[in-house]
Symmetry: C2
Subunit: 155 residues, 2 copies
């Protein structure tokens, strides 16, 4: 199904909320309430997001989390990578993890290319893009034309 895990989904939602209140801070408790994600799960998520430097934590009363940078500067790829590792369609395109077919598989060398394409979509979509209205950076014509028109005057 090519899906992103529920944790990553939740994580992105949390980042979205942090973006909305920026530069204010939100406690895990509040985040759990806002997102309806169970608190222990929020805990696990925040650790990952903090490790990846997407959020900054403050302890003690009045503590909580705030976004480390602006929502424009955080991509979906950032978020997903923080929570479930670098997106990799197949084992051959992944850093960790081995494909037992390696050696026989004629496609092994080709997957990274496709993977990079997908990754780009995720990198070019920011939290901001996701949260606001608009066409996700990508003009509707993309739907009918080749992925990118041949750049004029090249080669």
């Amino acid at each position: 199904m090519l899906k992103v895990g529920r944790l990553a989904d939740y994580g992105i939602l949390i980042l979205h909320h942090l973006g909305r209140v920026r530069p204010a801070r939100l406690s895990m408790d509040t985040l759990a309430e806002l997102t309806h994600v169970p608190l222990p799960t929020v805990r696990k998520l925040m650790r990952l997001l903090a490790e990846a430097d997407l959020v900054v934590s403050k302890r003690g009363p009045l503590g909580g989390y705030e976004l480390a940078r602006s929502p424009q500067q955080i991509s979906l790829a950032d978020a997903i990578t923080a929570i479930e590792g670098r997106p990799a369609l197949t084992a051959c395109a992944s850093d960790r993890g081995h494909c037992e077919l390696a050696g026989h598989c004629e496609l092994a060398g080709r997957w990274p290319g496709v993977n990079a394409l997908i990754l780009q979509v995720l990198e070019r979509t920011s939290l901001q893009d996701l949260g606001a209205g608009g066409s996700l950076h990508v003009p509707p014509p993309l739907l009918r034309e080749p992925l990118c028109p041949e750049p004029p005057g090249r080669k």
Copy 2:
């Protein structure tokens, strides 16, 4: 990790091999040998691929499978959909499957857009593209410019 299941991976490899020998046929036995995928697993895969009309089967001696259309006309999206259902990043972007956050989640309406983008990459990449050399339809400049440059003389 945003990965495609191993079955889908195998399935695409199988389709690739069928493409190479087209319009000849290959038996499951041969396919298992060629791809190093265990025969029972090949069986399961071929049923799915046949149901999706990506391959055509012939029974009896000299039987086997052949590609239903040319490798250019089969996209990665076709293959993945046949094997693990329509790709959907999140539950909100999926047909089947419900997100228990539906109703509270401010992002629910936005995911389908991102999903469509990813889907397009998969739809625009054919078996042929994957198997052959070349730049996957997508010129390198895509790596540095906005996903698609604003079409000149528009709006």
